[in-house]
Amino acid sequence: MVDFWQIIQNAGVELISPTTAAYALAALGLAIHFGFTGLVNFGQAGFMAIGAYGYGISTLTFHFPVWGAVLVGIGASIVFALILGVPTLRLRADYLSIVTIAAAEILRLIFTTNTLEAVTGSADGLSGYKGGFADLNPIPDGTYGFGPWTMNAYDLWLRIVAWTIVIIACLLAWQLMRSPWGRVVKGIREDEDAVRALGKNVYFYKMQSLILGGVFGTIAGMIFILPRAIVPANYATTLTFFIYTILLLGGAATILGPVVGSIIFWVLLSAVSGFVARAQAAGWFDLIGMSSVQAGQTRFILVGIVLMLLVIFRPQGIFGNKKELAFVK
């Protein structure tokens, strides 16, 4: 029979998992780009990859301490944002989308190529970089929490750090968006020529926004690799599309939307794929001849359909302003 209690428990784990936090932070970065500034960045996966590899390579190849590795990652993402932004931020929005998606893919191919295997680990990726972060853990060994949220000291440490970062990032973004800086950026989203005519250096603001959201993505990339290994295949375009789904689920021009979007996304995804897998094993889908491999693939089909339905029927997301909806084109 299908064990619903187990499905709910597994879904509950996702509620506070570091992966959920990482996606929330990456989506918040994208909210700054897309929701607030109107920059169609399709390369958020690239920023995350820079965080992951920046941290991994600095730790493994150069033996940097944790703070050094984090700074390298952030520095690299600023350089990446500059390289993306300089040629494209003066162009029409669709050019940025194509260049960012291309740049993210270039990064992935560079991280995957055999030529650089000694540093990047090629298709196998990297592991064994977590020591420094674990050493910083002040929490004594033991078992903490209850129910689905039972965890060891490292997992607890990781969750505390991950969600603290998410909260700080939210506060930062919230303060920025209610300041005159946020006003300029939102103005650029509406019509950059108008803002230019008011004497604002639009190019420069777009660059700042690209860097800020990119750095959020990069830090998200670092949180993302702490519970797992670095595998280049994780940073394909699909990652960016998942983050868009999360962003639109919560509301593109909101601060809490990306966080709540990420939680809903992961809890639902876990519940749905858990259900499909177990139901398939229990023979519920034998009529349509679904195999266990196929059961695993349904989640992607569902994400795609949800993304479409969201944009069509609730473009402002769960947290978006109803009043705005009347005017959303």
């Binding site: 169609v40 500059l82 390289i83 300089v86 040629p87 003066r90 162009l91 029409r92 929005a93 669709d94 050019y95 989308s97 194509i98 260049v99 998606i101 291309a102 740049a103 893919e105 270039i106 191919l109 560079i110 995957t112 190529t113 055999n114 030529t115 650089l116 295997e117 000694a118 540093v119 090629s122 298709a123 196998d124 020529d193 250096n201 190019y203 420069f204 660059m207 699909t238 599309f241 868009y244 789904t245 639109l248 491999v293 693939q297 349904t298 992607f300 089909i301 994400v303 795609g304 359909i305 949800v306 993304l307 479409m308 339905l309 969201l310 944009v311 069509i312 473009p315 959303v328 084109k329």
Partner: protein, 437 residues
């Protein structure tokens, strides 16, 4: 605080160019090369072998394996052995890099007769395939750099032309509706999968399967427009939301293909013809046929756009929708036809791509989606002829660049070129600037 002027064009352009050169230089330098004598040990499918020079094992020889979308390189260990894990069964090309052999030594067969260093292996009943090399003293008549260059130009043209088919469709759709259709990749895959279904699963003759596949691809374009895009246009959904809808559609369709056809790569019949030699160039009859079909299709589209009433209406819609509507052009009908043509061209492109790779797989379109976008952008968004030029540039660049950069990095070059061209000509090669105010 005055924050302007920090980003100054004068030095940022060289900066970006410098970075691009750096990437290329890094890859060219090849300072860091493969060192393991085995990769992907945990994969189920393994290709193994050893290298012996006059009966003695030889270490440090570079072997590369490619096929079914996979590429990998190893160096033989001191025992002369190597192994490469590959993601799936099927046919693979193995190449021994003779420049890593001692001087004067080349690949021979057991009896010391000189043979090419590149060969194919195919998995049989087991999940392990063997490929041993024997070496001996000898001289090889190598293909000169120039001959390789010519060969690459032809392969690049053939690839560029098949890209052009997909790119023209994408560009027409963009031109008439403003949509950046990410699901175009799935329209490409559709053609190949349809051919596979009819030609292999139903065992129809190839020509019949091809015709049905192309017709179905056009019908697929029609269905997408009538069932999804037209209602969205009616609803007044904006262009960026529409683009995101196309991303969702792309995800859903791609994994639906995987659900229905599985994750493996399957071959179309007739994919393995013998090569014809034209001087330095060796081409399979299929390559020639593929180029011929692509050229005919491109000419067909050109004729349609320049000479027929409907084609001109299409250009009028691309130019200015409201004006075209006011002139009595049925804009919805034009867009519908553009989707049908776009779908058929994408399907054809997918079929040709299936022969080019070779193989049909669920995500084959997605693998070249970025190249299609790069081609369209290079040529100038929304200009159909620009898309053809852009595709050929991309195809040529990818193939020719493999003379210098590792083949698993060949797409990088094309994407870097895209960024560099946008620096110099933001409106693309054949595009035009927009007006302000």
């Amino acid at each position: 605080m005055e924050v302007t002027g920090l980003i100054d064009r004068r030095w940022t352009r060289p900066l970006v160019a410098l970075f691009a050169i750096l990437i290329v230089a890094l890859t060219l330098g090849g300072g860091l090369s493969a060192s393991a004598d085995s990769i992907n040990d945990d994969s189920d499918w393994q290709i193994k072998g050893n290298v012996k020079n006059d009966g003695e094992p030889l270490g440090g020889v570079l072997i590369s394996v490619s096929g079914n979308g996979f590429t990998g390189e190893v160096k033989t260990g001191d025992d002369g052995k190597w192994s490469v894990g590959v993601p799936e069964g099927g046919k693979y090309t193995i190449t021994l890099d003779e420049s890593t052999l001692p001087k004067g030594v080349i690949v021979t067969d057991k009896d010391g007769v000189v043979i090419p260093p590149t060969r194919e292996v195919e998995f049989g009943a087991t999940k392990t395939a063997l490929s041993n090399y024997f070496l001996g003293v000898g001289v090889r008549e190598t293909t000169s750099f120039f001959d390789q260059f010519i060969q690459r130009i032809f392969t690049g043209l053939s690839f560029g032309l098949l890209l052009a088919l997909a790119a023209v469709g994408l560009s027409l759709i963009f031109g008439t509706t403003g949509l950046n259709n990410f699901a175009h990749a799935e329209m490409v895959t559709f053609g190949a999968l349809a051919t596979l279904t009819f030609a292999v699963d139903f065992a129809w003759p190839l020509w019949a399967a091809l015709i049905v596949a192309i017709v179905l691809s056009g019908a697929f374009g029609f269905v997408l427009d009538a069932g999804l895009w037209r209602p969205l246009r009616r609803k007044g959904v904006g262009l960026i939301p529409m683009m995101i809808v196309s991303i969702g559609l792309s995800l859903a369709l791609r994994y639906l293909y995987q659900y229905l056809y599985g994750g493996s790569t399957r071959q179309l019949p007739g994919a393995d013809g013998a090569d014809l030699k034209f001087g330095p160039i060796s081409l399979s009859p299929l390559d020639l046929l593929s180029m011929g079909i692509s050229i005919l299709a491109v000419i067909g589209v050109a004729f349609f756009l320049l000479r027929t009433r409907l084609g001109k209406a299409t250009r009028a819609v691309s130019d200015n929708v409201s004006l075209a509507a006011a002139s009595g052009i049925d804009v919805d009908r034009v867009i519908r036809i553009v989707w049908v043509i776009g779908g058929a061209l994408a399907g054809l492109s997918g079929i040709l791509f299936a022969f080019y790779r070779p193989g049909v797989s669920w995500d084959m379109g997605f693998q070249i989606l970025l190249l299609i976008f790069a081609a369209v952008t290079l040529g100038g968004l929304g200009t159909a002829f620009g898309a053809v030029v852009g595709s050929i540039v991309v195809g040529l660049f990818i193939e020719i660049s493999t003379l210098w950069i590792p083949s698993d990095m060949k797409y990088v070059g094309a994407l870097v070129i895209l960024i560099l061209v946008l620096l110099v000509r933001p409106q693309g090669i054949l595009g035009r600037k927009e007006r302000i105010g």
